[in-house]
């Protein structure tokens, strides 16, 4: 809920979306509720088929929910046609009108809204400047590059100044370098226009870099909503931890429940005291999630939490990934940043200790 007491830009309330009927029905969205704040860069993140694009299409009005409501600020827009919603979309394939010039594409929505000619002309000029495309105003859209088409699609969707801009994996067709540039560009556009952005992607890195908040989706459900660091550091369940970044999952049993901490025994025998999450499960079987970069390796057992034997080390430029075989024969990955001029720290077959800060261990109910 909004801390500043403002009405959220978009509220999705208990929305179901079911495709097909009877025998071959597919539940695309299952009781989904989420509130997206004004002027927020909000990302729907999940694997393909998780329902993120369906949710976006419901907000745009291209589909109708089977049940539930969608509100734009205080207005119920659930049954409104797309052309009656002050919401615009940047499509995955851009969907620029091929028989029109860049200018005609950007002016389209303004003409449909019957704005005066002078205003349309001014807005087109402003939009072209905003996306840095002034010199291509009279080009046909099939005569410009993919990256430029992307910018025209953005300008076209922003021109009528929608209350919410929806972006359906708009960067997936661009190459790596261009994608990186556009990520920064999108952040800048959102900042300059002050429009609420709802961004759909399956790329976790993209989601973490650009978003104010991320909703992780799977199988028609929203699993967790929060700022990127919270999603990354405190995943609420195994799927979230697994989908975002690399994670070591260690099965464990709770052996003692204290006030702020619980003691867990790992399969490999070690006992670990970890901070108790807000909702501790009733059962004792849990999983501990540990990020590979949040551990340190040491040569001797000593004060290390876990011990194992180094299986192999993979050098990948900025980091080296060490795979360590634990006492229960499972593999644990540790990522150590490489320092300039320093060789690999350990050799295969070395006995070594893994030191971890209990703060960096996330307890997941299983």
């Amino acid at each position: 809920m909004p801390a500043n007491g403002e009405v959220p830009a978009i509220r999705v309330e208990e929305v179901d979306k079911i495709f097909g009927n009877d025998a071959d029905r597919v539940v695309a969205l299952n009781r989904v509720s989420v509130a997206i704040e004004e002027n927020e860069f909000f990302t729907l993140l999940g694997p393909s088929g998780c329902g993120k694009t369906t949710l976006l299409r419901l907000i745009a009005g291209f589909e109708q929910p089977t049940a539930g409501r969608i509100l734009l600020q205080d207005d119920d827009i659930t049954r409104l046609a797309p052309y009656d919603r002050p919401v615009n979309t940047v499509f995955q394939n851009y969907a620029l009108f091929p028989h029109m010039t860049v200018e005609q594409n950007i002016a389209f929505a303004l003409e449909m809204l019957e704005k005066p000619a002078a205003e349309i002309d001014q807005t087109v000029t402003d939009m072209l400047r905003l996306v840095r495309m002034e010199q291509l105003r009279d080009r046909r859209v099939d005569q410009i590059s993919g990256g430029q088409q992307q910018r025209v699609a953005l300008a076209r969707a922003l021109a009528p100044h929608p209350r919410v801009l929806l972006l359906d994996e708009p960067l997936s067709a661009l190459d790596y370098k261009l994608r990186k540039d556009m990520q920064i560009e999108l952040k800048r556009l959102q900042h300059e226009t002050g429009i609420t952005f709802i961004f759909v992607t399956h790329d976790q890195e993209e989601a973490l870099t650009m978003s104010d908040r991320v909703a992780v989706m799977n199988d028609g459900n929203i699993l967790q909503v929060g700022p990127p660091h919270e999603i990354y550091d405190h995943p609420s369940e195994r799927f979230v931890a697994d989908f975002i970044g690399d994670t070591n999952f260690l099965p464990a049993d709770i052996i003692e429940r204290g006030g702020d901490a619980v003691s867990c025994r790992l399969e490999s025998g070690e006992v670990l005291a970890v901070p108790a999450g807000v909702d501790l499960p009733d059962h004792d079987r849990v999983t501990l999630a540990i990020r590979p970069e949040q551990v340190t390796l040491c040569e001797t057992a000593g004060d290390a939490t876990l011990q194992g034997t180094l299986q192999d080390a993979v050098y990948i430029g900025t980091d080296t990934h060490y795979r360590i075989r634990l006492a229960d024969d499972s593999l644990f990955t540790a990522r150590v940043q490489n320092a300039r001029g320093r060789a690999q720290l350990f050799e295969s077959g070395d006995r070594l200790g893994i030191r971890l800060d209990p703060e960096h261990v996330q307890l997941l109910k299983d």
Binding site: A60, G61, F62, A81, P82, Y83, V87, N88, T89, F91, N93, A95, F97, P98, H99, F108, A109, M112, L113, D142, R156, A157, P160
Partner: protein
């Protein structure tokens, strides 16, 4: 390094393919060659060459019956292709721009039925039906010919329009709706301009088909309503002169020009 790679199947590389292709093209176009050559014959015989001359073109041009039949053909073809194109455009929109509905395949088959039903059957059926209407109303005008031609031209106009619509990205119409265009402006500003080459191709194809029709016209026409093809058929029962060759060559030329235009319009450049 010699890697044994399996050759992809390319029909052009099959043994005998060039020969077969040449034989086919020869069989298709060879008969047209003497037709065109003898249209320039100076003599009265369609098979005996007596020197070059344009006299049969002049004769055809001066023949009032030929002129009247040619005008009739053009008028009927214009009206029929116009109406057929409008109906075919609506049919194409109805079969591609709607949610899938029950019986869609049946409707598709029904639209293309004139391609399957033997033309002589349609001709006889129309003869009987129109005879009944003529009896009841006393009207004997050109409407029968135009209606009959419109009917059998619909599938020919429909196919290129439908192909064009199917090749068009439906997201474009979604995008137009997203950008505040209601259904009619979406159609006028996005769908129609993009399907226009298909509509032109369909209209021209319908025009050529109507212009060339013999069977249905022969059955449906009233006295004095000969089109160019039925006039030529009538001439064959009498003395054949190279005048027929000359008329045929002109019809051929018109068809070639229109079909070439259709070919260029149907090439899918955008969308």
């Amino acid at each position: 390094m010699a890697v044994a790679r399996q050759k992809p199947f390319v029909i052009r590389h099959m043994p005998g393919f060039p020969t077969l292709a040449i034989v086919c093209f020869f069989a298709l176009y060879m008969p047209l060659v003497p037709l065109v050559i003898y249209s320039f014959n100076a003599g009265n015989n369609i098979a005996l060459w007596e020197g070059i001359s344009f006299r049969w073109y002049v004769a055809a041009w001066d023949n009032e019956l030929v002129k009247a039949a040619a005008v009739r053909s053009l008028v009927v073809a214009s009206f029929a292709s116009f109406f057929a194109t409008i109906l075919a455009t609506m049919a194409a929109l109805g079969t591609t721009r709607t949610r899938a509905y029950r019986g869609q395949t049946t409707i598709y088959a029904l639209i293309n039925q004139p391609l399957m039903v033997p033309e002589i059957v349609t001709a006889v059926a129309l003869l009987i039906l129109f005879a009944m209407i003529k009896e009841a109303t006393g009207y004997h005008g050109y409407a029968y010919l135009i209606i009959a031609h419109t009917a059998f031209c619909i599938p020919f106009a429909y196919l290129p329009i439908r192909a064009r619509l199917e090749g068009m990205d439906k997201t474009l119409e979604t995008a137009a709706a997203d950008l505040y265009a209601r259904p009619w402006p979406t159609f006028r500003r996005v769908t129609l301009p993009l399907m226009l080459p298909g509509i032109f191709a369909g209209a021209m194809l319908a025009f050529v088909i109507s212009l060339d029709d013999v069977v249905i016209t022969e059955f449906v026409k009233s006295a004095g309503q000969d089109t160019l093809p039925t006039y030529m058929l009538g001439q064959l029962r009498r003395v054949i002169t190279p005048e027929i060759n000359a008329i045929s060559s002109v019809l051929l030329l018109i068809s070639v020009i229109l079909v070439t235009l259709i070919f260029f319009l149907s090439r899918n450049k955008t969308a």
